[in-house]
Symmetry: C2
Subunit: 455 residues, 2 copies
């Protein structure tokens, strides 16, 4: 009987994160200040982020960065995660491809988000910070941050988009169970929130508003910092524990991936599984294909442009050089809430620009169809986000079948879907649809940004 699950011990949890920037010939472009157009330095971020994360954000020289023992100690609660050979899926597709997945869904909050939440909470604590704040849309990041804040004894305030707060009470209760304060955004606790409520008492909130509320809190409350769940390079850095473990586990399986696939929102999940393998590409010239699977309704990598743009809807962040659809782009309300982001991290953007990775777009109905096949074949109901990676994997495995080639495909199962069953309920009831985007719509949004660039 062949091995299905490749397991590592607690002692195999990586001791360092891999900083791909050190190996990149073309470094990611530096963030610039929207008014002065000057490149930022780490200390420019200190008012918002903790100092260590700010430094990591700009670190382009250290290839490996030590993971503090206190962080590894909390990682031990769920890491190492299993690598699984998807025999069931291979059989269902009748493909000669060997399919593996890294199962990050076994984390206690059900997703990979904890890998960075724990690190960020630790660095805040170490700096003597007592309060942290963040925003959350659907709640995956908020849940992870609540868990991490509890372990390091930090008070956490989560601004949750009001419509999710009211329609998704479960994620709210998860955060509260871990002791976080969850505030429906817009709220009366910030100037930004109060203004919005005064203007429109019935406004149901947006991620942009929640971000501005959280940042306002972080910059006005003493001893309070802001934490973010994706996009930034230090978040991607923390996620590289995924790929480092997977490399060891692929070795146990006696294989090396020809293709590595992950779903793509802001990029940290993709970076987590891909970068440690891409290290081999950059330093040894191995030929692995890296595929980011993004939703067709939010196609910044496949149809966006490489521009300086704001990281948030409201325009409070520095300008970031990235693939973007425009910070004013309003993604359709697909169920993969974690992928509804207009841009991509600067590191990933540079890598795609330089041809080290590619992207594919997946339609909502195709993602759920893939999820159903996977659930029946492997027994795990994936998060709607992860379903995008599964759909891309199935596409590649079927190509192998057509071509009669036996490739090794690795994808990251970033989370399970047990807290997203409303989405499956809608899909099974036939209520879901695809959202088609015309190039005209995309270009219209990008015009705003182009004007901004030319200023």
């Amino acid at each position: 009987m062949e091995t299905k699950k490749f397991l590592l011990d607690e002692k195999d949890i990586p001791t360092q994160w891999y900083n791909i920037v050190a190996d990149m010939k073309n470094k990611p472009m530096l963030p610039i200040h929207p008014a002065t157009k000057q490149p930022l330095k780490p200390e420019d971020l200190y008012p918002i982020f903790c100092e260590e994360c700010s430094r990591q954000e700009f670190n382009s020289t250290d290839r490996y960065i030590d993971i503090p023992e206190e962080v590894r100690d909390v990682y031990r609660n769920y890491r190492c995660t299993p690598l699984v050979r998807a025999y069931g899926l291979e059989k269902a597709l009748d493909t000669p491809a060997h399919i593996f997945f890294k199962n990050e869904s076994v984390s206690p909050v059900g997703s990979h988000k904890l890998n960075s939440a724990i690190a960020q909470a630790y660095y805040c604590k170490k700096q003597g910070i007592t309060n942290i704040t963040t925003e959350t849309g659907a709640g995956q990041w908020g849940a992870a941050m609540s868990y991490a804040a509890k372990f390091f004894g930090l008070e956490l305030a989560v601004y949750m988009v009001k419509i999710s707060y009211e329609q998704k009470p479960y994620r709210k209760s998860i955060m509260q169970s871990y002791g976080a304060t969850v505030i429906a955004s817009p709220s009366m606790s910030t100037k930004a929130g109060r203004k919005i409520i005064t203007d429109d008492p019935n406004y149901m909130g947006s991620l942009g508003t929640a971000i501005s509320e959280a940042i306002e809190l972080a910059t006005t409350v003493p001893n309070c910092k802001y934490v973010l769940g994706s996009v930034l390079s230090h978040v991607s850095l923390h996620q590289t524990v995924i790929g480092q473990e997977a490399k060891k586990q692929m070795e146990m399986a006696g294989e090396y991936p020809d293709i590595v696939i992950a779903c793509f929102g802001g990029g940290s999940n993709f970076s987590g599984i891909a970068f440690p393998f891409m290290e081999d590409t950059l330093t040894k010239g191995t030929k692995t294909r890296f595929i980011a699977a993004e939703p067709a309704s939010c196609p910044k990598l496949t149809r966006g442009r490489f521009l300086y743009d704001f990281g948030d809807e409201a325009g409070y962040t520095p300008l970031l050089k990235m693939y973007t659809l425009g910070h004013n782009f309003q993604p359709a309300h697909i169920h993969a809430g974690g992928l509804r982001y207009h841009g991509a991290g600067t590191t990933v953007s540079q890598l795609i620009k330089d041809g080290f990775m590619e992207a594919t777009d997946i339609k909502q109905l195709d993602s759920f169809k893939a999820a159903m096949l996977f659930a029946k074949a492997e027994g795990i109901i994936p998060a709607p986000e992860s379903a995008h990676a599964i759909a891309a994997t199935i596409d590649e495995a079927l190509k192998c079948k057509e071509e009669g080639t036996q490739k090794t495909i690795l994808f990251n199962l970033s989370g399970h879907g047990l807290i997203d069953m409303t989405a499956y309920d809608s899909y099974l009831s036939g209520d879901l649809k695809n959202y088609d985007l015309s190039q005209e719509d995309i270009d219209k949004n990008l015009e705003t940004i182009l004007k901004l660039q030319q200023k």
Copy 2:
């Protein structure tokens, strides 16, 4: 840094189930036919259950029963499960006790129920059965059975209590994702269901009704059998993989439990973790305490009587000699739906009668208080059922603190609570309460049964 998680490899999945009945001096009393009062034989169950499960139900001689390779192969999708040293909980309680838990929540459906679902599906398939049927209340068992049926290519019809079907669409969607047909009970698909709907079109169903619909389907449709998720001895037998793994893992930790604790509904989860350790009590005289944690609102072990009673509300099953509150007992609507059962399995009942185990009752609010403490200390939100085991564990750990004794406590975390967040939402909103039962109410129900006994 001390080890937190004790992991076993796929090859360590037990190769045999442990049949405690072979080691019991006083065997559990045989089920009897309600009309003839004659003890049943395995073949009397063949019209309802598959033959192998029927034989296992009566097997009192074979101490170990081989686990078919096909079953172990599916077990490999999630087993072995981790044993965890609960350092966080120990610290939160400031107790000298060493607390360990077996984490069955990592299964893809989030609970231990799969261990028997897979075995039952396999034996049905092996016998050439094509269709199976079962009932489900909250949906944990239905989800597990849907997963197992899919793996062995069986068609599954799940009768789900109508009120759960409408109020808990998530579990329904999980079952449907695995390909099961889910029918709100009462339904028009059976005589029993049609009669009830005709009598009262607005009736929202009960577990008793769902059981009778499922049994009617199994006995009237060709090539169809019925499967059950707890209470019966063969279900307990299948769950012993939990305790067998835990024994090996406790050995890795260099400890042996002084106390083993599990929550108690029908008994299969308790048996799963306890029986393999109880084997040492029965064969080597070791002195471990075994504690079943039941809800105070459904206290068959602490306040019920040892009688012959029906296994179901409607009185369709054989009479079983067990601790019971009376088959007509209506448990309060606590959120730990899996513990709302009036009786206990015959094997466990005999063991409690003979003093090999004890029981404690936990109030609903205490179970949620314990769950909150555990979530904050260990990072896992437990199923409301498992929270009862946690509350009992906390009680024992605090006793150790008072006495200044360092005992080793092991409990089974039978499932996570991520699909039960409505319950936590209610608790956090202050909407939950305890349900007090007077001895008078209990006795009133037992009178029915006593009359039946005397017939």
